[in-house]
């Protein structure tokens, strides 16, 4: 318990660091909200016009002053107003989050459902043809850039099936499950492909390790059936690294899948941040990155706790 409290205590510190990095680095990028809005026409502005716009976008004061102002707002739960959306940043983020969360969960589900059985299969048939096929699949998944997978999906669907997922918008699950799934299934497979490949690899190697351990040999010598040994004795232990890997990967996915969202035109967190950066919507970039970082920290804490729950031999704090 003290461990959890200790970890939680570091969160504000880390988030503060993240906020400082993002706040100052985003302002180092040449161009600002004014050039983002007007493009080359910004050159036609008179100094007075420019000043008026700068004050409108809240970028007229020195950066440290802006930061303190922003930090003060943060303590009141106010992340500021998005330039693009013209409404509170937190609202914009929470609108995009369900999609990202669902996509991450769905990809993880696909990865586990496909990856674990394949990994176990490959481990139990080590060095036989089925093992090689599985390993080849895993290799393929891990080495194909996901924009290629996504683009090929869209191409094949539109040419051979005459239908593509609804793009551009997002139908929440509770509004229309069918529509929702139709939209997310292909992006989820695209993400899940690489994810499943990692899961396959790690569960295969974990399983191989465990199968070589003494207690499994003991179980085997006691006459337990091969299947029982694999599923009852070996698998639970082999799952530990799988849980860790999936958790960390899930944490990354909660930050949004920029490229897949771009290809499938999904309004998720990743594209939100990308658009916010290209349009120099500083408050939105700051809020969204902070939100993503917080998610990541929480997920990682949960992963560590799950790790302990699965393997009592591990003492927390040593990690």
């Amino acid at each position: 318990m003290t461990y959890v409290v200790q970890r939680l205590l570091t969160f504000p510190l880390i988030l503060l660091g993240v906020s400082i990095v993002v706040f100052f680095s985003i302002r180092l990028i040449p161009g600002d909200a004014i050039t983002a809005m007007l493009g080359t026409e910004a050159g036609l502005l008179t100094p007075n016009q420019r000043a008026a716009l700068a004050s409108y976008f809240g970028i007229d004061k020195p950066v440290p002053t802006q930061y303190l102002h922003w930090l003060a707002g943060l303590f009141h739960g106010d992340l500021g107003i998005s330039v693009i959306y013209g409404k509170p940043v937190i609202g914009v983020i929470l609108e995009r989050f369900p999609l990202t969360l669902e996509l991450a969960l769905l990809s993880m589900l696909i990865a586990l459902v496909v990856g674990v059985p394949l990994g176990v299969l490959a481990a139990t048939r080590s060095e036989r043809p089925s093992d090689l096929v599985v390993r080849l699949f895993a290799m393929l998944g891990q080495s194909t850039p996901n924009f290629v997978v996504g683009l090929v999906f869209i191409f094949v669907l539109s040419v051979f099936f005459g239908r593509v997922p609804t793009m551009g918008t997002f139908t929440p699950l509770f509004v229309d499950p069918g529509d929702n799934l139709g939209q997310l299934i292909f992006p989820a497979i695209t993400l899940g492909f690489a994810f499943a490949a990692s899961v396959t690899r790690i569960s295969r190697s974990a399983m191989l390790d465990v199968l070589g351990d003494d207690y499994v040999r003991t179980a085997r010598s006691k006459g337990a059936s091969a299947r029982r040994v694999v599923w009852r004795h070996a698998l639970p232990n082999a799952l530990i690294p799988v849980v860790t890997l999936s958790g960390v990967e899930f944490g990354y996915l909660l930050g949004g899948a920029v490229i897949v969202e771009q290809v499938f035109a999904l309004p998720g967190l990743g594209r939100l941040v990308l658009d916010a950066i290209t349009q120099r919507d500083y408050p939105l970039v700051e809020g969204a990155v902070l939100f993503i970082a917080l998610n990541f920290l929480v997920v990682n804490l949960l992963v560590d706790l799950a790790y302990v729950a699965l393997d009592p031999r591990i003492r927390l704090g040593a990690r």
Partner: protein
């Protein structure tokens, strides 16, 4: 040398090593300009030609030979991948070791800084860095390296911390070995296995990230191609000229396969646990 021999005796390690050697060979030839055609010269008459005896892998939109560009691209991609992983591993190992060795306050500070970097969404961190400095090979290397540094730091710090408590390090200390010697000799030797795995993963990841950055227009700069840039450039030509996607895609895949096979083999060879088991 011993390791190298073991690698060549290892079944899949041999294949991995072969792939890497072939790639390095192609890259060196490409860098020396020994390509079948000029990889950079646009040639309008031969635009988008399918693979043929003259152009083994076809030509691109500007009429340049895909195979020649692939040779140069492999070099470019390898430079980005190896350099970024080398920087990340170097910095990460140092940070992880110092954090573990000095402990307490330093440990806290260094690892929190790593946490900050880790909590940043990776591709966005890279995006920010590139947006600030401007794209290009050095920037790609730096961006990918910074993203991967905290992972190496973490990989090193954990085991280093537990090794620090072990008897043989204490023994070395009482025998008066200098700190630097203890650090490098004992700790690193014991870290070789987990690091090798991490390096292989990182190399594969770096290749893919470079491709992703190129997709967003932030990777290598024209006219010299990287595999990722070639792949990204091919996306609107998927229908016109599928070879533009297939060959760079295969090249990336094979390259990553090479890294993975070699890495797995090295782990088998170096990891004391697997040695024990196979013995």
């Amino acid at each position: 040398m011993q390791v190298l021999r073991a690698l060549l005796l290892h079944r899949s390690g041999r294949i991995g090593a072969l792939i890497i050697v072939v790639y390095l060979g192609l890259a060196v030839l490409g860098a020396l300009g020994l390509t079948p055609h000029n990889p950079l010269q646009p040639f309008p008459i031969s635009r988008l030609k399918p693979p043929s005896a003259n152009f083994w892998m076809g030509t691109d939109l500007l009429g340049r030979d895909t195979f020649s560009r692939l040779m140069v691209g492999i070099g470019e991609s390898f430079v980005v991948a190896f350099a970024s992983v080398a920087v990340a591993a170097g910095a990460g190992i140092l940070i992880g070791l110092f954090a573990a060795w000095w402990g307490n306050l330093w440990d806290g500070i260094l690892m929190r800084v790593m946490d900050v970097l880790l909590a940043f969404p990776a591709i966005l961190l890279a995006l920010l860095i590139i947006a600030i400095v401007g794209p290009g090979t050095p920037t790609s290397i730096a961006a990918i390296a910074i993203v991967y540094t905290p992972i190496f730091a973490r990989v090193v710090r954990g085991p280093a911390l537990s090794l620090k408590q072990r008897d043989f390090v204490d023994a070395a200390r009482t025998f008066g070995s200098s700190q630097g010697y203890i650090l490098s000799r004992h700790l690193l030797l014991n870290l070789v296995a987990p690091l090798t795995v991490q390096v292989t993963l990182a190399l594969a990841w770096a290749l893919l990230t470079e491709a992703g950055l190129s997709f967003l227009g932030l990777g290598s700069q024209p006219p010299s191609p990287s595999l990722g840039l070639m792949l990204a450039d091919s996306r609107n030509l998927m229908q016109h000229a599928p070879w533009l996607m297939i060959f760079p895609g295969l090249a990336i895949m094979l390259g990553i396969l090479g890294f993975n096979l070699t890495g797995d083999a090295l782990r088998d060879i170096l990891d004391p646990r697997t040695q024990r088991r196979s013995a």
